[in-house]
């Protein structure tokens, strides 16, 4: 038995093989594996993996969904998409979101997280700001509110005649804000929508970064302080390099979310906004499939969306690797 325990430390796999050699396959074991692995896997394969695979096939048909007639059109749908001006607008809008949302959200949440963690006294123990708990609880709150409700609340805030924003602006004397439709003007609709999404997610990433910063040993900060680094220097030159991987993860998550953005965009401007200025790919996909019934074409949009998502993630990883990655801090 001692031998088995020794092997455990080197890795779980060894002990399992050892056990299998020792014991025959019993009913207990077979039924256990069948239920524990088989049941979840079957559900997962049927409802998640198979739709992904089918979507790629459907994307090459001009299927309308009402019969089983699926004429194979090869890459015809993709050619059609790239010649479709409205779809290309939606791609541009989605990419715009994927460029701006992660930058804004990550920077804002990093600043707030830094203030909370190293805003405390510069003497004695390294500690955070007083009342940090309050800020953490409040900031995280938007993350738990359903996205639909966030959209509804903000579309009321942006409401031209009775909204909170125009009320405040006219209240402080900006009369041109009277009856200004933030979501109904193609110049501001996209920016207003971005504000909503940033509002919803900054708190989440702030908590994530706070946790990461707290994972850095206090000695590191103390050493920096003894070497004469001030707070700003510590934040830029110590904290950020050390939580670089967390920033990368946050950046990728936020980008994937920005490429989706379906809930926010469809609640704020259900038809794609003035001049399609807030129409995103996911909205276009949804209406193509479930309003127009062009299922083949919609699947092609899904493939394009998935491809852009993967390219985005790959780019973030690549940029992080090229600009030094984790090497900086491992010395």
């Amino acid at each position: 038995m001692t031998q088995v325990t020794n092997e455990v430390k080197s890795g779980g796999g060894v002990v399992a093989t050892a056990r299998r050699r020792r014991k025959k396959l019993t009913f207990d074991k077979v039924s256990f594996m069948a239920v524990f692995l088989g049941l979840p896997l079957v559900i997962y394969l049927v409802f998640v993996i198979s739709p992904f695979v089918q979507a790629i096939y459907y994307s090459m048909t001009s299927w309308s969904g009402f019969d089983n007639n699926m004429p194979f059109v090869g890459l015809g749908n993709y050619v059609k998409l790239f010649n479709d001006d409205v779809f290309m607008i939606s791609v541009r809008n989605s990419v715009t979101l994927a460029i701006f949302l992660p930058v804004i959200t990550v920077i804002l949440s990093l600043i707030l997280a830094t203030l909370v963690t190293i805003g405390g006294s510069s003497r004695g123990q390294i500690k955070g700001l007083r009342g940090a708990g309050f800020y953490r609880v409040v900031s995280f709150f938007p993350y738990v509110i359903p996205a639909v409700v966030i959209g509804i609340i903000w579309s009321q805030i942006f409401n031209p005649s009775n909204g909170l924003l125009n009320g405040i602006l006219t209240g402080i004397g900006i009369d041109s804000a009277q009856d200004f439709a933030w979501l109904g003007d193609s110049r501001t609709a996209m920016i207003a929508s971005m504000v909503v999404i940033v509002w919803g997610f900054v708190g989440f990433y702030m908590i994530l970064f706070i946790a990461a910063i707290k994972g850095i040993p206090a000695e590191t900060f103390e050493a920096a302080r003894i070497d004469g680094a001030g707070r700003f220097r510590t934040a830029v030159n110590i904290t950020i390099p050390l939580i670089r991987d967390n920033i990368q993860t946050a950046y990728v998550y936020m980008g994937i979310l920005a490429l989706d953005a379906f809930v926010y965009m469809s609640v704020l401007n259900s038809t794609g906004g003035p001049g399609n200025s807030t129409l995103v790919m996911s909205q276009k996909l949804f209406s193509t499939a479930f309003t127009k019934g062009q299922f083949g074409l919609a699947c092609a949009m899904g493939v394009v969306l998935a491809a852009i998502t993967l390219i985005f993630s790959a780019l973030v990883f690549l940029v992080n690797r090229l600009t030094g990655g984790t090497e900086d801090v491992s010395e």
Binding site: P40, Y135, F232
Partner: protein, 298 residues
């Protein structure tokens, strides 16, 4: 030392306080920090407070001024939202769907993660990568075929259909999180249970699962929030109004009212949707914030 090589940098705005390593400098920094954080907190709280205030006003009061207090605190808005807007029905549908989906996905996810983390069998890597794929690809890619799979199974527009899809799409996250958790549990205890004669089933349910409770709790809270807030899946595959869940019900209510309908009730409906998640959040705030960190430090 890291800080040495970076010494030649232009002094930035926040840099000035550095030389004052005394309480005065600290006060300035703390003051600036508190101001910025308080501003952000206001940005978070004001929209929510305004929603709460508006939920007690009549539509004409809402139109008259965004700031005014209601002349009479109109609690009927909540009754109207619950009954007329159908929020009550949607609420019960959501409780049923999220409740069942949560229990099932936690059970299946724990089982799957346990097997993947603690047994070696041919294809275990493949299963792991399949789960990763489910986390990476957008749901939008799957949504059209999913619609027809449910139609063929006769589960389209039914609550059981919605439950099983929720389970399937919450599974990869659940498995990933619990995978690292089960991996970290000591093997000796499972060994001891087996020596004492417990079979695989009993080892899992009586020994391993109770040990995984903290991890299970974190994942369950995240799954609860994710499923309660889910919008795309029900909008696509659950289009019968009587089966609506809260998120799609309130979206439709907001969408169908032009400028003439009951704004007070809309704000009340928003509050009704927020309150359950707010309660969950306040109750489990510590675990939730703790698991955000645990989830990213894998």
């Amino acid at each position: 030392m890291m800080s040495m090589k970076l010494s030649k940098k232009p002094a930035a705005a926040g840099h000035v306080e550095r030389k004052a390593q005394d309480t005065k400098g600290d006060k300035v920094v703390a003051g600036v920090s508190h101001t910025m954080l308080a501003l952000w907190s206001l940005l978070v709280l004001v929209p929510l407070g305004w929603t709460l205030l508006s939920s007690f006003k009549t539509t004409s009061e809402i139109f008259a001024s965004p700031f005014s207090l209601p002349a009479v605190w109109k609690f009927e808005n909540y009754i109207n939202a619950w009954n007329t807007a159908g929020i009550g029905t949607y609420f019960f549908n959501t409780v049923i769907v999220v409740g069942f989906a949560l229990v099932i996905v936690m059970a299946l996810g724990a089982m799957c993660a346990y097997v993947l983390a603690r047994y070696v069998f041919p294809g275990s890597r493949a299963v792991y990568y399949l789960m990763l794929a489910g986390l990476t690809f957008p749901i939008f890619l799957a949504i059209v075929p999913l619609f027809f799979i449910l139609q063929n199974l006769g589960l389209l527009n039914t609550l059981p259909g919605l439950i099983i899809v929720y389970v399937a799409f919450a599974l990869p996250f659940t498995v990933f999180f619990l995978f690292s958790f089960f991996k970290a549990l000591p093997h000796e205890i499972a060994e001891a249970a087996q020596i004492d004669g417990a079979g695989e089933w009993r080892t899992f349910f009586q020994v391993m699962l109770p040990m995984a409770k903290p991890g299970m709790a974190s994942v369950a809270i995240f799954n609860f929030l994710g499923l309660w807030n889910q919008y795309l899946i029900p909008v696509a595959i659950n289009t019968k109004a009587e089966n609506y869940v809260l998120s799609q019900g309130i979206a439709r209510y907001a969408g169908q009212m032009g400028y003439s309908v009951d704004f007070g009730a809309l704000f009340a409906a928003a509050i009704i949707v927020i309150v359950p998640v707010l309660i969950m959040y306040v109750l489990f705030q510590r675990q939730l914030q703790g698991s955000v960190s645990a989830g990213t430090m894998k």
